[in-house]
Each structure stands twice: as structure tokens, then as C-alpha cells.
């Protein structure tokens, strides 16, 4: 019998499932599709900004304690130092084990600064080993190389922006047909193409010609490939731990008796498929990930269990007037309120179900994108929620 069903295959769900499986539990992931790992940079943002502040955070672990003081309901405020350290250590060990080691800044506990696809300095906490050369605290000048004809990557823009911020950089182009016959290519297809050693060698030899002594080279930035790699490696690891990972499972119903959920049901080609388990962990994402949805009347719902939510009362309050308002938009803070054990609670703080936990962006009182905390929240709360679920 499945002990724990994790709903959602984003980072929060994958980490929660891995922790539970490592602890020897029978785990199954039931997910509609994959999560934000597929369009984010694949690095681990722990905490980059406080709401209303435009100065980025240098020491995120320290800053997380400040979050706990100013925003006592923030998911980070629900975690102890030990839980946070444990989650991050476990993640680092896990990435080594699955062959995709992540690294942090040279100065332990600092944020890393990596160039974004428009050349902004992006604070993040851990990054795949291969991205480390992009650390903007290093002094070597940069050569940003694009493939001519590739969309969504503009070396000149990146180099210019980096230069304005005091990071010497110049741009160069190579022809796309160096690598592919396609006229249009996505980063993922490019990555597949570069799996071929011959094309990789061609690229390397052209890059050598372009680079000057002492330069470091940045190529083809846009996201998703590292995130996809991480997802695949985590899914494979889960399978090896004996867990099931089922995607394309759209949960359409559930059954509870008393304060316990007995099963959830997903849509299928024939009859709906029941997933029975002793425990359920919600990691379905927030309003952007589909864990929380709205209808045309402006009603906001949690999509699986219709959990009580913390959300703006009416549509007029979803957004602030300015798109880039540093305070962020209230709708992105909509989410499930939980207690210290990461169990969803109602408006009175009473636990909704005895055997349901929640983790990741579906949690209320945070704006993971504005705060640059998306993966950090996923990893720390996913890990903590799984540990609590395992103890019960």
C-alpha cells in the first residue's frame, strides 16, 4: 500500500518524495505535468529580495531570520535553522549522488551572482557546477557568444548591460549551422544537438578562436536545460528508490472520511484512477503553477482539496497599478495557510485534514518569484513537510 502520495512533480514535490523515499516509505508522485524547473534557470534561489526593497540580499541565510521577524507567517518563518540547514545539506548531497553537483558562492553563505538572459545580476544561492564560471563576483572579463539566428538570446544586450554594471564583457556570434541544420532551434534542441561530441568539438574550436587570454566564455543562456536535467535525474533516482512517478494525471476528485483523506482520483482514458494512500502531500504550485486557480467571477480555489485559502478578497485587489511595483502583486501571495507542521489550516488555525501536508509555492504568505525564493521555498518546505509526514 502506498504510504505517501505526493501531488505535483515540481521541485517541492520531487524533493518531498525523495526525502520520504529515502526514509523508506512507499511513495508515489501523481502529477499533471512538470513544474517550473522547466522554465527556470535550474539554479536554486533561496532569498534574493525583500518585498518593497530593491537592494538584493547578500547573505540569504541570515536574511531568512529577518523574514521570520517581519513576516511571521512566511513559510521560512515556520522553519527552524536546523530544518533549513538539513534541507540544503540534503539537497547538495543528493545532487552529488545523482551526478549533477550544485555549488554555492566562494564565500560560504553568500548569494551567487549570475548573469540573467538580459545581463542583469541575478542573486541565487546554489547553481549547477557548470554555471559557476558565470559568478559575477569574479573579475575575469566575459565573452558572451550567441548563435546567429537563435531567438531569445541577445549577446550584445547582455554584454552591454553587464558592462554598465561594471562587469567587463563583450559579445560575439557564431553561425547556427555550426551546430545544426535547423533554421529555428530551442535551447533544449540545441542541448540535444550538443550531446554529439563532434558538434561539441566544432563549437569548442570556434570558441577558442574567439576568446582572448584571460576571458571566460558565456554561451547560450536561456534557461530550462539545467532544470530539465535536474528533474530527470531526480525522477530516475526516485524510481531507483522504488517510488512511482506518474505524470499526465489530472486529479479530479477525492474522498475524505472524518478528518482523513482516503483517496484521490485522476482522470484517465477509461474509468478514473483511484490513488489510495495513508498520507497526501500537496505540492501543486501556486497561481502560476496551477495548484491554485481562479474562475471568471474572480473566485480563487485550491484545485485538489478545495483547501481554505489566504487570497485577495476580490479581483480589484489582485494587482497593484504598476507592473514592476517592488511590493509585488497580492494575487501572487495567494496560497494555502499551514501550521508549523506544514498541515493546511482553516481561518481559525484548525487543521483541515489529519493526513495532508503542503509544500512549495502553493503555500500562502510568500511571493516566491518577487522574493527570488522559488526553489528555496520548494526545497526547504518540501523537505520539512515530508519529514513531518513521515513522523506521523
Amino acid at each position: 500500500m502506498t504510504e505517501l502520495v505526493v501531488i505535483g512533480a515540481g521541485l517541492a514535490g520531487l524533493i518531498a518524495a525523495t526525502r520520504a523515499a529515502q526514509a523508506g516509505h512507499q511513495v508515489k508522485i501523481v502529477a499533471k505535468g512538470f513544474g517550473a524547473t522547466h522554465w527556470h534557470a535550474g539554479s536554486i534561489d533561496l532569498l534574493g529580495y525583500f518585498p518593497n526593497e530593491t537592494i538584493a540580499i547578500q547573505r540569504p541565510l541570515d536574511a531568512m531570520r529577518d523574514v521570520a521577524r517581519v513576516q511571521p507567517q512566511h513559510p521560512y518563518a515556520l522553519l527552524s535553522d536546523a530544518q533549513i540547514t538539513d534541507a540544503l545539506k540534503n539537497f547538495l548531497a543528493l545532487t552529488r549522488e545523482i551526478g549533477l553537483p550544485y555549488v554555492g558562492a566562494i564565500q560560504d553563505g553568500d548569494n551567487l551572482w549570475l548573469p540573467s538572459p538580459v545581463g542583469a545580476a541575478r542573486p541565487t544561492f546554489l547553481a549547477p557546477h557548470a554555471q559557476r564560471a558565470g559568478d559575477l563576483t569574479r573579475a575575469e572579463p566575459m565573452l558572451i557568444v550567441g548563435l546567429r539566428g537563435m531567438r531569445d538570446f541577445y549577446p550584445e544586450l547582455i554584454a552591454e548591460n553587464l558592462g554598465k554594471q561594471g562587469h567587463p564583457a563583450r559579445a560575439a556570434f557564431l553561425p547556427l549551422d555550426l551546430i545544426t541544420d535547423r533554421r529555428d532551434i530551442t535551447t533544449v534542441q540545441l542541448a540535444y544537438a550538443l550531446d554529439d561530441p563532434a558538434r561539441r568539438a566544432r563549437l569548442a574550436s570556434e570558441l577558442k578562436k574567439l576568446a582572448q587570454a584571460g576571458e571566460r566564455i558565456g554561451v547560450i543562456g536561456p534557461n530550462s536545460v539545467p532544470g530539465i536535467r535536474l528533474t530527470n535525474a531526480l525522477c530516475n533516482h526516485l524510481r531507483q528508490l522504488g517510488a512511482r512517478v506518474d505524470v499526465n494525471m489530472d486529479v479530479i476528485a477525492f474522498r475524505a472520511e472524518g478528518d482523513r483523506v482516503l483517496w484521490i482520483e485522476s482522470e484517465a482514458s477509461g474509468r478514473p484512477l483511484k490513488h489510495r494512500a495513508e498520507k497526501f502531500l500537496l505540492a501543486t504550485g501556486g497561481i502560476l503553477g496551477g495548484g491554485i486557480n481562479t474562475d471568471h467571477t474572480g473566485k480563487i480555489r485550491e484545485t485538489i482539496f478545495d483547501m481554505p485559502l489566504v487570497a485577495p478578497r476580490d479581483r480589484g485587489q489582485w494587482f497593484r497599478a504598476r507592473f514592476f511595483d517592488p511590493a509585488g502583486h497580492p494575487i501572487f501571495r495567494a496560497g494555502i495557510p499551514v501550521n508549523r507542521e506544514f498541515q493546511p489550516v482553516d481561518a481559525n488555525g484548525a487543521r483541515v485534514f489529519a493526513n495532508v501536508w503542503a509544500a512549495g509555492s502553493t503555500l500562502a504568505h510568500c511571493d516566491p518569484i518577487l522574493e527570488r525564493a522559488l526553489e528555496g521555498i520548494a526545497i526547504t518546505t518540501g523537505s520539512a513537510a515530508a519529514c513531518f509526514a513521515g513522523q506521523k
Partner: protein, 427 residues
């Protein structure tokens, strides 16, 4: 073209958020530059198809193998594979169908003809010269694993020839063309297991599910087949008999694909759908009700299990795996390759054979990685088993053959029923 409205499937294209996750997972786009990927061929090109031009704007959609991996990973529920299938149908409606694809669509008739004199048919077709000619003239890939006609006679003739168990509990068996003409053993194993469990197997007249035609864009012909099966089988569904199949792809077509792609959803199709089961799914359900005999004998073997793309498309979990894990001693290992590459009739086409083999590389690697001790490989789709056998030289066996062997009814090496089972059925 075809009478169906484009609505339900077409509507989903507005859900596309352009994330390109489908492109990242499409196994075909990963190995060939001839196919731009699901987002481009599907929701994107579809915008240009609906504005009523005379010519389809994008022929690359022909390279879509219909594996549905894109649907599986799309976070927005876009029915990309269906959009592609309809686009192919539109191309066929505009330009006609290549002779080869016409033949592929009629694999049931080919099965029937070959079955008249299977030895001669095998000899006639499965020799290097004929295969070379078939490639040159028709574009049927010379090395592709096209099955041999069964020399043991069709499944249906075996079924009618041998005495059958009678019982209150009846189950209808849908065998599909490949079991009938190429692998009757699979059907025999299914019937033996059903009878072993005390069910009377009924095999009513039935015809090809229509999958090869749907995949080759022959919608009107596919619709005829679907409606014919509906007429033949619905009376059994209405009597409350479960209709089980051993070919996941046939069951998928009957249960969902045909009615969805052809836009024929009504009360009848729903009743039909509700009666249909993948056999493993049905056995798993029996087990969940505590009614499955789990008195298996030990099967000491390592068995790689390739999850076929059609099994995934059912969204029913891994019923074969669930049931096979009940067998003591059996070390079933689930692979995670996306597709074996063959995908219906895709890998049989000469211009696509290489692509199919490249797509299958992950699956082959997984199967081989299980070592020499693993002599067999299993998958829910016959197509995958043939392709894996072709790519790895291991023996392909259906999950139901494995189960029949675990019940002591079946010899996996010889691929035939044990005498016990034969005696039992003649009781």
C-alpha cells in the same frame, strides 16, 4: 473534409502557454532536424490551419509519430498529438494518401490474406529481395521489424476450435489484428488466464480498431471501423460484460482516441468506453477487490519492462507492473524511455526507420543494461515488443504471457500453453 467539428480538441490550443516543455520531451524532435517539435507543428501551426487556406501550411507534421509524449508532459492540457493527427488527416484529405500508407491502414486485410497460407506469405514477403523491393517501390523500411504471420493459425480459429470453459462470469476479449494474425499466443495466454480465474471468455466478431488509419490520416475509413466495432461490441457492454484487450493501443483507440479525434462522443460511445479495460488494468482491479488468485509459482527471472507510450497515454498508471510485481521471484524493472520509436506504423516507413531507431535508442539501452541474464523483455504494446526485440535481440513477451506462465499455464520459451491449461480448458 471530414464531417466532425474541430472543436473539443481545437479548443485546447488556446491553453498553450508556449512553454516548450512538449518540445523538450518530444522524442522525434530530439533526434531529427526534419521535425520542429510539438509546439510548432501543433498549437502554433494550427493557428494557420484554421483560417481556411486550401493547402496545409506545414508538412513537417507528417514526422510526428503520434506517441503522445507531448500530451503527457504539457502542463496546460493541450491535446497536441490530436491536433497533429487532425492536421495529417487534413493533408490526406487534400492530397490523397500514399499507397504505402493505404496498405498500412489495412493491416487487418494483410493479416487475413497472409493467414490463408502463412508459410508462403512469410517466405514471399520476409526475404531480403522482397523487402528490398518493398522499400524501393513502396517505401516500407527494409530492416524494420514487420511481424511474421503466425504459422499456428489465427487466434480466432484456435478459440473456436478448442473447447471453452462455460461460466456465469463472462468477459469479452478484444484481441486486435496482431494477436489474431501474428501473435495468437498472446490471446491464448489471455484466455487461459481468464478461464483459470473462472471466467468464461467470449470472443465475438470484431474488426481492426482503426489505429493504423487514424495514424495515417485516413479518418473516414477509421470511423467506419470504429462504428463497426461499436455496433458489434456494444450489446455486450450493455449486458454488463467487461470488454478486455491485450493490446493497449487498440484499447486506447476504442476507449478514447477514435471518439475524440473523430468527434463522435455520445451516449453509446460512453457506454462502450465504460465497459472497456486493458486486461492488466482489469486484473489489477480484481486484485484490489481481493478477487485475484495470487497463487503464482515462482518465476525466477530479470524482466525489463518498457512502458509503451500508448500505455502512458491511458493515464491508468502501470497496471501490468502492479500485477507482475505480485509474482514471486520475478524481478521486473521499469524503464523510463519515452518511446520505442516504432509508434504504430511510423518506424516501418523507409524515410522514418532511422528516426525510429534513434528514438528507440534509450529503450534499447535500458533493456540491454539489464544484462545477459535478462533474456526477455516485456511491454504492453506488441509494436514495442517487436521493436525492442529488433533493437536488443531479447525475446519480447506480453505481460499476460508472463502472468499465464506464473499461473503455470504457459511456456514462455516455446510460447505455447502447457498441457495443464489445455486440459483445463477442455473440462
Amino acid at each position: 473534409m471530414h464531417t466532425a467539428s474541430w472543436h473539443s480538441v481545437g479548443m485546447t490550443l488556446d491553453e498553450c502557454i508556449k512553454c516548450n516543455i512538449c518540445t523538450a520531451y518530444c522524442p522525434v524532435a530530439a533526434v531529427t532536424e526534419k521535425f520542429p517539435g510539438p509546439k510548432y507543428a501543433g498549437p502554433q501551426a494550427q493557428r494557420f490551419r484554421e483560417s481556411g487556406q486550401l493547402k496545409s501550411p506545414d508538412l513537417s507534421v507528417d514526422y510526428c509519430s503520434a506517441c503522445r509524449v507531448c500530451n503527457e508532459v504539457c502542463p496546460s492540457g493541450v491535446k497536441i498529438a490530436e491536433i497533429n493527427a487532425r492536421a495529417k488527416a487534413q493533408i490526406v484529405a487534400e492530397r490523397g494518401i500514399p499507397l504505402r500508407n493505404w496498405f498500412f491502414g489495412r493491416n487487418e486485410i494483410l493479416g487475413m490474406i497472409g493467414n490463408l497460407a502463412p508459410q508462403i506469405a512469410n517466405l514471399g514477403f520476409h526475404n531480403p529481395f522482397s523487402r528490398l523491393m518493398a522499400e524501393k517501390i513502396l517505401g516500407v523500411a527494409r530492416h524494420a521489424p514487420i511481424p511474421h504471420w503466425s504459422t499456428r493459425g489465427s487466434f480466432a480459429s484456435w478459440f473456436n476450435r478448442t473447447p471453452r470453459l462455460k461460466s456465469e462470469n463472462k468477459v469479452v476479449y478484444f484481441h486486435g489484428c496482431s494477436t489474431n494474425y501474428y501473435e495468437p499466443e498472446v490471446g491464448q495466454a489471455a484466455v487461459a488466464v481468464l478461464e483459470h480465474l473462472g471466467y468464461e471468455a467470449i470472443v465475438p466478431p470484431q474488426n481492426c480498431c482503426g489505429l493504423p488509419m487514424l495514424n495515417n490520416g485516413e479518418f473516414p475509413a477509421a470511423e467506419k471501423l470504429y462504428r463497426s466495432n461499436l455496433a458489434k461490441l456494444l450489446p455486450y457492454a450493455d449486458r454488463g460484460y467487461p470488454i478486455v484487450g491485450t493490446s493497449v493501443s487498440c484499447v486506447l483507440v476504442l476507449r478514447e482516441e477514435a471518439s475524440e479525434m473523430l468527434d463522435i462522443e455520445n451516449d453509446q460511445t460512453r457506454r462502450f468506453k465504460n465497459a472497456l479495460w486493458d486486461l492488466s488494468e482489469w486484473l489489477r482491479d480484481l486484485h484490489e477487490q481481493g478477487k485475484l488468485d495470487t497463487n503464482f509459482r515462482e518465476l525466477k527471472m530479470i524482466l525489463p519492462y518498457h512502458v509503451s507510450c500508448q500505455a502512458r497515454a491511458h493515464r491508468m498508471g502501470r497496471p501490468s507492473l502492479d500485477v507482475m510485481t505480485l509474482i514471486p521471484g520475478l524481478d521486473v524493472r521499469e524503464g523510463n524511455a519515452k518511446c520505442c520509436g516504432l509508434a504504430g506504423t511510423y518506424g516501418y516507413k523507409s524515410e522514418k526507420y532511422e528516426i525510429a531507431m534513434k528514438v528507440g535508442a534509450d529503450a534499447f539501452r535500458f533493456v540491454r543494461a539489464q544484462g545477459d541474464d535478462a533474456r526477455m523483455v516485456t511491454s504492453d504494446s506488441e509494436i514495442c515488443r517487436w521493436q525492442l526485440q529488433h533493437g536488443t535481440q531479447k525475446l519480447g513477451r506480453a505481460p499476460i504471457e508472463i502472468l499465464a506462465a506464473a499461473y503455470g499455464l504457459y511456456d514462455l520459451d516455446q510460447r505455447r500453453l502447457n498441457t495443464v491449461a489445455l486440459q483445463k480448458s477442455s473440462l
